[in-house]
Amino acid sequence: MPMSATEIEAAIRTALPDAEISIEDLAGDGDHYRATVVSSSFKGMPRVRQHQLVYDALGGRMGGTLHALALTTKTPA
């Protein structure tokens, strides 16, 4: 079962309550998404750690249920 954009957003929101999250369904198939996550929690972290935080939030579904999530993480300007 693919994940909906709403589910992805909710999962990320739970882990990073302050995050500004935007999610695009790239192919319209509920399987290929692009997400941009802006959170102050990322401050001072290398990018790999930032992405790991988001993957952790998705609780192991990344790479499994969720096939493709192009991810961009940022700290608030």
């Binding site: 990018r47 993957y55 790479g63």
Partner: protein, 109 residues
Amino acid sequence: MTDPIHATIQDQITKDDVVLYMKGTPVFPMCGFSAGTVQILGQLDVKFQAYNVLDDQNLREGIKTFSNWPTIPQLYVKGEFIGGFDIVREMAENGELQETLKEKGVAAA
């Protein structure tokens, strides 16, 4: 490090300066993200050693637990995990990847 595949991976990323774990081969990538990463490395003229995780189920699962990273491709420079396609692309666009390669003394091919 209890999983023997982790020792193998550690050897592989130590032996070569730039190592890419990917789906398929550089000539025949089997996934868009792997293809994109190969293309970026090609544009930067970086010589790299590729391992096809589709050939080895053990490696395919092992690399994910090794780096605590759920997806493939994965790029390593001088033994350090750099990231997957999104990060590699972003770093190549803003020049960070070129900087990292230079800092680590990795010569262009």
